[in-house]
Amino acid sequence: MSAFLTVDNLSAILDGSDHRVLRSVSFSIDTGEVLGLVGESGAGKSMIGKAVLGILPSAIRIVEGEIQLDGHNLTKMKSADRRRLIGATAALIPQDPLTALNPSRRIEPQITNRLVDILGWTKFDARVRALELLNEVHIDNPERVMASYPHELSGGMRQRVLIASAFAANPKLVVADEPTTALDVTVQKQILRLIRELQARHSTAMVFVTHDLGVVSKVCQRLAVLYGGMVVEKSTVPDFFEGPKHVYSRSLLAATPKYTDPDASLLPVDEGVIEQVAAQVRAADREWRP
């Protein structure tokens, strides 16, 4: 059986230039599997998630490659059909819980409207489902939360609501775009556990975008390391933490602060390594250009 989501040789450029922001990216995810996309800022990890969900900024254009979701080729579909397919099968857990809920509407319609309008549920069913999900994300007082406005909730609560909302329609694919970056460390851990829990229960395929290798080791089964919009290494999580193959991955792993040695200074990734991987990116570009 083929994978649930396959991204094949995907390249995207900044419109009006020939600068590639994604460089021939390929990977695949099976149902129930979590793939971590790791890399430093600007490596294009969020961009991949956005490309899959069809929410790339208008300045970025896909020029090559295919995205297959559940047997459908997204890049060849009409945009209305694509929106419908993505709406029915995929969901997003956004990075910043502070801007991811509409500030002028109560929580309840923000979870249920989508179920009612797009998936044709009855209002009653949608409400029951919303309450059930808020319970699942361990919100003690779901009735009250549903009647609240976003600004009445704390960041951690909002992220719980967003997770609940993402899983509401039983999506087969969830893209989590650095879901814990905007939260403080104590809340991070709970939220990660929650995402993992729901993902496992619903056996959702998941793309988990993060810069935190520690998070990857807890949540993902496989990972792809990105540099400059290019996948430099793909590996299973146990293999990776035993010994990454690419030099860049090795120094990225080495740069992670360790609890066992709190006095060690933070190491930047070695400049020689950066030069090496940058040269690799340039070489790929030379080959790519017609």
């Binding site: 929410i55 208008s58 419908r84 990075q95 801007t99 600004h151 909730l153 909302s165």
Partner: protein, 283 residues
């Protein structure tokens, strides 16, 4: 597990109440001017010219705020002037708000060529001196209430367009919009149902500001005699007449000027007050 934020109650503040009170009173006066004004605003009595207001010696208690040089009652003229000022404020303000906001919302959300065209148009528009532009427009359209309203809309839509466009762009970049796209919402649904409610407080604040501006523009045009017929009781017209006799009868100038000032101030303060009170997020 709700935190304290939900229990914060914001006070309306004196600003909202005072300005609201003044505008309410003026609106009532405007509405019922024909019934409550003590005299006919156009009736002249040349034997009762330049009577002072009631607290000064030589006043006639029938003319509370005195009379102008033609013996017309200042109070009645201010009341009828409010009718014109408030009609202009309401109609021109709303029409400007709707036109400008609509173009701004579409430009800020759709971007692309539409935004390009609208934005350049706004730049060009704003380079015109507004008062000259208004006078020019009236010269072309002819005097009258409708012309004033059209002139205000044509000149001032840019004020809304620019601010609303920026705000719509801000909102479009928020994650809740991305989520709505992922959920399969059509574009126009996102614009009206998700983005517009968050831009509305800004539009309302601008609207009240614009109403104040409309009152000023109407007064300016009346002042240079380009408003309605020259003896019609407008605040700007009264100020223009009062100017000629300021040393003999200061009240003919001072009362309409004070009312104009307070009304414009109240409009802007009312808008700010509303924005503070109804903005879903304290900005």
């Amino acid at each position: 597990m709700l935190d304290g934020r939900s229990t914060i109650k914001r006070r309306a503040g004196a600003r909202l109440w005072l300005s609201g009170l003044w505008l309410g009173v003026m609106a009532l006066v405007a509405l019922f001017a024909p019934m409550i004004s003590p005299h006919d605003p156009l009736a002249q009595d040349l034997f009762a010219g330049r009577l002072p207001p009631f607290w000064i010696d030589g006043a006639d208690p029938a003319y509370l705020l005195g009379t102008d040089s033609l013996g017309r009652d200042v109070l009645s003229r201010i009341m009828h002037g409010a009718r014109i000022a408030f009609s202009v404020a309401l109609v021109a303000g709303l029409a400007t708000a709707i036109t400008g906001s609509l173009l701004g919302l579409l430009a800020g959300y759709l971007r692309g060529w539409f935004d390009l065209v609208i934005s350049r148009l706004v730049d060009i528009w704003m380079a015109f001196p507004p008062v000259l532009f208004a006078i020019l427009l009236i010269a072309v359209l002819g005097t009258g209430l409708t012309s004033i309203i059209i002139a205000i809309v044509v000149i001032d839509w840019t004020r809304f367009c620019r601010v609303v466009r920026a705000e719509a762009m801000n909102q479009s970049a928020m994650d809740y919009v991305s989520s709505a796209v992922v959920a399969g919402r059509p574009r126009m649904h996102i614009l009206w149902r998700e983005i517009l409610p968050n831009v509305l407080p800004t539009i309302v604040a601008l609207l009240t500001l614009e109403m104040g501006i409309a009152v000023i523009v109407e007064a300016i045009l009346s002042f240079v005699n380009l408003s309605i017929s020259s003896d019609a009781p407008t605040w700007g017209g009264m100020i223009a007449e009062g100017r000629t006799s300021i040393y003999q009868a200061w009240w003919v100038l001072a009362f309409p000027l004070g009312v104009l000032f307070l009304t414009v101030l109240s409009f802007s303060q009312f808008g700010e007050g509303l924005k503070d009170r109804f903005d879903p997020v304290l900005r």
